[in-house]
C-alpha cells in the first residue's frame, strides 16, 4: 500500500546530545539528592539517640574538601572557556580549555583520594563509614564519567568537528557535577 503525505527535507538535529546530557544530569541530580536525603535522615536518627554521627576516632579533613570545592570554580571556568572558544571556531583554544578542564578534574579526583587517606575511616565499625564511602564513591564515579566526556569531546574537537552542541553539553555536565559536589560538600564535609 502506498501512502501520500507531503515529503520534507531531513530535519536538522535538535540538540540531541544536549537533551541527552540534560536527562543524564537530571537522573544524576536525583541520585545524589536521594542519597543526601537518606544521609540527612540517618544522621538525624543517630543524633536523636545521643550517639555521635561521625565516629570519634575519625576526623574529616576540611582543607582538601574546601580546595575541591574551590577547584570546581576553575573547572567550570575552563569548561566555559571551551564553549567560548568553540563558538569562535578557535580549535586550539578549545583543545587547551578542554585539556585544562581534564587536569583540574584529575586534581579533584586526587584530592578525594587524599581525603580518604587522611581520614583512615574503616568501612566497617560504624553506620557512618559505609554511607560516607557510598556517597563520595558515587561522586568519584561522576568525576570519572566527566573525565571520559572531556576526553571524547577533546578528541572530536581536535579531530576537526566543529560541534558547538557537544562542547556546550560537556560544560552542562560539569555544571551538574559542580552542583552535586556543592551539596555533598555542604552536608558531608561542612555540616557533617
Amino acid at each position: 500500500m502506498t501512502q501520500a503525505l507531503p515529503a520534507a527535507p531531513q530535519p536538522p538535529p535538535r540538540r540531541q546530545v544536549l537533551v541527552g546530557t540534560a536527562l543524564g544530569c537530571a537522573a544524576g541530580t536525583m541520585l545524589v539528592g536521594g542519597m543526601l536525603a537518606v544521609w540527612i535522615l540517618m544522621r538525624e536518627r543517630v543524633v536523636a539517640t545521643g550517639e555521635p554521627w561521625v565516629p570519634e576516632d575519625a576526623s574529616i579533613p576540611e582543607v582538601p574538601s574546601n580546595i575541591m570545592f574551590i577547584s570546581f570554580f576553575a573547572l567550570l571556568l575552563f569548561a566555559q572557556w571551551a564553549v567560548h572558544a568553540m563558538k569562535r571556531r578557535q580549535r586550539v583554544n578549545t583543545g587547551l580549555a578542554l585539556g585544562t578542564t581534564a587536569v583540574v578534574a584529575i586534581a579533584i579526583i586526587n584530592a578525594q583520594g587524599y581525603v580518604y587517606s587522611q581520614m583512615e575511616l574503616p568501612l566497617a565499625g560504624s553506620g557512618y563509614g559505609p554511607m560516607f564511602y557510598s556517597i563520595t564513591g558515587v561522586f568519584l564515579v561522576l568525576m570519572v564519567i566527566g573525565l571520559g566526556y572531556t576526553g571524547v569531546t577533546a578528541f572530536r574537537v581536535l579531530g576537526g568537528r566543529e560541534d558547538d552542541e557537544l562542547v556546550i553539553s560537556h560544560a552542562l555536565y560539569w555544571y551538574f557535577v559542580a552542583a552535586a559536589f556543592a551539596a555533598i560538600w555542604l552536608f558531608v564535609y561542612v555540616t557533617k
Binding site: Q16, G20, G125
Partner: protein
C-alpha cells in the same frame, strides 16, 4: 504532495523471509539481533524477555497461592517464602511491567514521531543488556537464598548489585525514549501534535528517569552497608523496607501511564474519531505522572484518619499533614486516569466501535488499573483497618496485571509493523476476556480478604471467613494469567512464523505516522521524512474535511 512508496525490500526487513536456513545464517541472525541498534529489535527484545519473565512471575504467584491456600500446613519450604514474595514483587515490577512498557515505547515511539531512529540507540541496547543480565542475576540470587531477608550473605550482596544493574539498564532505555520525543519529531510535529501514546511515553520516561536513580542510591547504600557492617540499614532485613517504595503503589502507576496512553489512542482508532480535548487528555496523563514523586518520599503509606462525623480541630494539623501526601500521591494519579477515561468517553460518544482484540485488551487493562488505583487510595485510610493486610497486594496485582493486559494489546496492535502480520482477532478477543477474568480472580479476593484481616506477606494465618475460597480464587487467577500470557505468546509465534495473515500497511485505518510506512517497517522506518500538519496525519488522508469523523478536530 509526493507519493511515497515505503514498502521495504525483504533484505531490509525483520520479517520471516530474512531467516537463514543454514547454521551460519542462523548464527548471523542471532548476532544481528543481539547487537542491533534498530529500535524495533531492541524494543522487541525487551517485550519478549518481559513476557518470559511474566511467565516466571505468575508461576511464583501460583506457588505462593498454593502455600496460602493450605495455610494450616507447609506445602513448600516456608523458609523460601521471603525470596518468593520478593521475587514475585520485584519480578512483576522490574522484570515485567516496566520493561514491557519500555519495550513498547522503544519499538514504537520513533515510528510514531516520523523519526528514522531512536536517539542514542546504543545506549538503549546497552540498557537492555544491563537490564537482562541484572534480571538473571536477581533470579540467581533469590534462588540461592539471597534477596530481602535472605540467609546467604553473598547472595544478598549479589541481589543488591544485580538490582542496581537492572535499574541502571531501565533508566538508560527510558532516557533514550524521552530524548527521542524531545529531539526527533517529524517536521510540523509540535508537542501539541504528539500522538497520545508518545506523550504518555514521554511522561513515563521522564518520571522513571527521575525516580529510578533514587532507588539506585538506596541500593548503593544497602550494598555497601550489607557488604561491610550491616549497622546503618539493618542488614538483609532492611532491604525490604528501604526498597519497598519502588514496588508498591503509587510508584507502580508509572508503568500504567503508557497503558493509559495506548488506550486513549485505541479509542480514537476503534471509534474512528479524532481525540477530543487533547490538551485535557495530555494534562490527565501528566497527573498520573505525579506518582513518580512517590520515589522521593521513601515511604510506603500515609496514615490518613477518616472520620465520618468530621475532623477534630485539635488534630486538624496532623490530619492535614497526612491528607496532603495522600491526596497528592494517590489521589492526583487517580484523577488523571479518570480524566483520560472521560476524554475517551467524550471522543467515543455516539460512535460505533469496531470490536478488535487490541482495543479490548487495552480497555480491560485500563479498567483493572483504575480498580487498583481506587484500592490504593482506600488502603491507607486508618479507619478501614486495611494496613498490613493483603488488600495492598490486591491493588498491586490490579495495577500490574492491568498494565500487562494493556501491553499485550499494544503488542497485538503494532505487530504488523514488526512482523508484517496481523494477529487473528477472534483468539485475541478470547484471550483479552481470559486475561480480564484472571486479573479479577488474582486480585479481587484479596480486597475482600483484606477486610477480613488476612496478613500481607504471610503464608501462615487464620481468620474468620472462607479463607480457602479467597486464596483458591487468587491461585486460579494467577494460573489463568499464566495461561493467558503463554497462549498469547504461542499465538504470536504461530502467526509470525508463517501461518498468519499478511498485513497491509495500515490494517486499522489508524491516525498516526507509524502506519504510513510499510508493514513490517524497514530498518530506517521511512523512505522520506513526512511533514505533519495535524495530530492525526493519516486520518487527514482517510477522511476529508466535512466527514463526520472530523467533528472533534481540535
Amino acid at each position: 504532495m509526493t507519493t511515497i512508496d515505503t514498502r521495504a525490500t525483504s533484505a531490509t526487513t525483520d520479517g520471516p523471509a530474512t531467516a537463514g536456513t543454514t547454521g551460519v545464517a542462523r548464527l548471523d541472525t542471532v548476532a544481528a539481533w543481539l547487537t542491533s541498534t534498530d529500535h524495533k529489535r531492541i524494543g522487541r527484545l525487551f517485550i519478549g524477555s518481559s513476557l518470559a519473565a511474566m511467565l516466571a512471575a505468575t508461576a511464583t504467584g501460583i506457588v505462593l497461592g498454593i502455600e496460602r491456600t493450605y495455610a494450616d500446613r507447609e506445602v513448600f519450604d516456608t523458609a523460601a517464602m521471603p525470596q518468593l514474595f520478593a521475587g514475585f514483587r520485584v519480578g512483576l515490577v522490574f522484570g515485567v511491567g516496566i520493561p514491557l512498557l519500555v519495550g513498547l515505547t522503544v519499538a514504537i515511539v520513533p515510528l510514531q514521531l516520523g523519526s528514522r531512529s531512536l536517539a542514542f540507540p546504543r545506549v538503549a541496547q546497552t540498557g537492555f543488556w544491563a537490564w537482562a543480565i541484572g534480571l538473571v542475576l536477581v533470579v540467581v540470587a533469590l534462588a540461592n537464598n539471597g534477596g530481602p531477608g535472605g540467609g546467604n550473605a553473598d547472595m544478598v550482596d549479589l541481589f543488591l548489585a544485580a538490582h542496581g544493574l537492572l535499574v541502571v539498564g531501565l533508566t538508560m532505555a527510558t532516557a533514550t525514549v524521552a530524548a527521542t520525543v524531545l529531539t526527533s519529531r517529524a517536521p510540523g510535529m509540535t508537542m501539541r501534535r504528539l500522538p497520545v501514546f508518545s506523550w504518555s511515553a514521554l511522561v513515563a520516561s521522564i518520571m522513571l528517569v527521575l525516580s529510578l536513580p533514587v532507588l539506585l542510591g538506596v541500593l548503593i547504600y544497602l550494598f555497601v552497608d550489607h557488604r561491610n557492617d550491616r549497622v546503618a540499614f539493618g542488614g538483609h532485613t532492611g532491604i525490604g523496607p528501604w526498597t519497598a517504595f519502588a514496588i508498591t503503589q503509587p510508584a507502580t502507576y508509572l508503568m500504567a501511564i503508557p497503558a493509559l496512553g495506548l488506550a486513549a489512542e485505541l479509542i480514537a482508532v476503534t471509534f474512528r474519531r479524532r481525540l477530543a480535548v487533547r490538551g485535557v487528555l495530555f494534562i490527565g496523563l501528566g497527573l498520573v505522572g505525579v506518582a513518580g514523586l512517590a520515589a522521593v518520599t521513601q515511604q510506603q503509606l500515609f496514615l490518613v484518619r477518616w472520620r465520618g462525623s468530621g475532623l477534630s480541630l485539635d488534630e486538624f494539623g496532623s490530619t492535614f499533614k497526612d491528607l496532603v501526601p495522600w491526596a497528592l500521591f494517590l489521589g492526583l494519579p487517580l484523577l488523571g486516569a479518570l480524566v483520560v477515561l472521560a476524554t475517551g468517553a467524550f471522543t467515543a460518544k455516539g460512535a460505533r466501535p469496531r470490536l478488535v482484540g487490541p482495543f479490548l485488551f487495552a480497555f480491560l487493562g485500563v479498567g483493572m488499573i483504575l480498580t487498583g488505583m481506587v484500592g490504593a487510595l482506600a488502603y491507607p485510610i486508618s479507619d478501614l483497618g486495611l494496613v498490613g493486610t493483603v488488600f495492598e497486594e490486591g491493588s498491586f496485582i490490579y495495577v500490574v496485571y492491568g498494565s500487562v493486559l494493556a501491553g499485550l494489546g499494544g503488542v497485538a496492535y503494532w505487530a504488523p509493523k514488526w512482523w508484517g502480520r496481523t494477529l487473528p482477532n477472534k483468539p485475541l478477543l478470547g484471550l483479552a476476556g481470559l486475561g480480564f477474568i484472571a486479573t479479577v480472580l488474582a486480585s479481587l479476593p484479596y480486597y475482600v480478604a483484606g477486610f477480613a484481616d488476612q496478613p500481607a506477606g504471610a503464608v501462615d494465618f487464620d481468620y474468620s471467613g472462607p479463607v480457602k475460597l479467597w486464596n483458591v480464587a487468587v491461585l486460579a487467577g494467577h494460573t489463568l494469567m499464566f495461561v493467558t500470557v503463554a497462549a498469547f505468546a504461542g499465538l504470536a509465534v504461530k502467526t509470525f512464523t508463517g501461518d498468519g495473515e499478511s498485513s497491509v500497511d495500515d490494517p486499522w485505518e489508524a491516525h498516526t505516522l507509524e502506519w504510513a510506512t510499510s508493514s513490517p517497517a524497514p530498518v530506517q522506518n521511512f523512505a522520506d521524512v513526512h511533514t505533519v500538519a495535524s495530530p492525526e496525519p493519516l486520518l487527514d488522508l482517510h477522511a476529508g474535511p466535512g466527514d463526520p469523523e472530523t467533528e472533534h478536530r481540535p
